[in-house]
């Protein structure tokens, strides 16, 4: 989805929620402004500060809208932060199962990880479709 369509949908769908509109617009403009290389990994913290929130959790309603099917700008990306300092990307299905089953096994050693909830990070990447559209807009000036 291109930027203008995304902004139009935000205004239309969220008109009863002006704070969420402001956050979504700030985030979409940010994505349009920064070089695409800087958007390889997008954190809650980044999105929260872009949207002007002090509390990271305040950005959740905007994020859920932007990863939703209406605009689908982002996709989630998951990482396991190994106690040795290694970051291992995880498939969404593994995280979803871990969350439901309340157990998680180290992706390399196969050992059960206690307190895995503190070691699985959630970040975002631009959705494939969005990446193409934003790049096309830049190229077009």
């Amino acid at each position: 989805m291109d930027k203008h369509t995304a902004l139009a949908r935000v205004s239309e769908d969220l008109q009863a929620h002006p704070a969420v509109v402001r956050a979504c617009v700030a985030i979409i403009n940010y994505l349009d402004r920064v070089p695409i290389e800087s958007l390889q990994r997008i954190t809650f913290g980044t999105l929260s500060s872009v949207a002007g929130y002090k509390e990271v959790s305040d950005v959740l309603p905007a994020i859920q809208y932007l990863i939703g099917a209406r605009v689908g700008i982002f996709e989630t990306a998951y990482y396991f932060f190994d106690p040795n300092g290694e970051e291992i990307p995880l498939a969404a299905s593994i995280v979803s199962s871990a969350h439901k089953d309340k157990e998680f096994f180290h992706p390399e050693t196969g050992e059960r990880v206690t307190g895995f909830e503190q070691r699985i990070g959630i970040e975002f990447v631009l959705a494939r479709d969005t990446r193409g559209k934003f790049i096309a807009e830049w190229a077009g000036g």
Binding site: Q64, G68, E117
Partner: protein
């Protein structure tokens, strides 16, 4: 080490402890299968239904379309690509798409007779849906403007049971016991099981308190 600005599952759970809506957002973010989608979506549509029921006095004159449009608007806010009257083998009342390609269709009827509800069921199951694996669930939304919605649903369940649909079964819905139930039968198009959630939306509003009696008397004397 994790970037301090990266939120972990534990952080997300903590947000949910502080605010139940954040817990629901977390659940939506973690959807990764059609079953997850359906389970989460039913929590979400129940929240919309509760909101509609809370303001049911405003919807006494509303037709099926207007109530469905309200539900669609609420679903859009939380990221569903929901539409009313989309062209899907006909004009289905509610179409809901998830970012991962999952689909749910719903047919809405203001309850008048059980034949009318069955007509909606047939539209959903034989006209609009395909029953494919990423669209193997749908819903009947019964907008009930009469009293005793749970009896309406019990009678509707008994009516449906007697229709002799192939491999038919039904069971209680624990999320909204007495006001919702599930049915499953073999879908005509796909030949695979198709699950329908039947949902009561309670719109009856006839208060009998003093204020309502006075208001009624006032209207009659005019």
């Amino acid at each position: 080490m994790a970037n301090i600005r990266t939120m972990t599952l534990a952080d997300l759970a903590e947000c949910g402890d502080l605010n139940p809506e954040y817990a629901r957002i977390a659940k939506r973010i973690l959807v990764d299968s059609y079953d997850d989608f359906i389970d989460t979506f039913y929590d979400d549509i129940d929240q919309c239904v509760i909101e509609i029921e809370r303001n049911r006095e405003l919807r006494q004159e509303s037709g099926e379309d207007l109530i469905s449009v309200d539900i669609v608007s609420m679903l859009k806010v939380i990221g569903y690509n929901a539409t009313h009257d989309a062209k899907t083998g006909g004009h289905v009342d509610l179409t809901v798409h998830h970012a991962k390609g999952y689909e749910w269709l719903g047919e809405a009827k203001i309850h008048s007779t059980y034949d009318y509800l069955y007509e909606g069921f047939l539209q959903l199951c034989t006209r609009y849906s395909t029953g494919s694996p990423t669209s193997s669930c749908g819903g009947i939304l019964a907008y009930i403007k009469t009293h005793d919605a749970s009896s309406v649903m019990a009678n509707w369940r008994a009516t449906l049971h007697e229709k002799g649909l192939p491999s038919y079964e039904d069971w209680d819905c624990e999320k909204r016991m007495g006001l919702s139930f599930f049915s499953r039968h073999t879908h005509d198009v796909s030949g695979m099981p198709y699950t329908v959630r039947h949902m009561a939306i309670m719109l009856s509003h006839s208060p009998r308190d003093r204020s309502a009696r006075s208001s009624k008397k006032g209207k009659i004397s005019k």
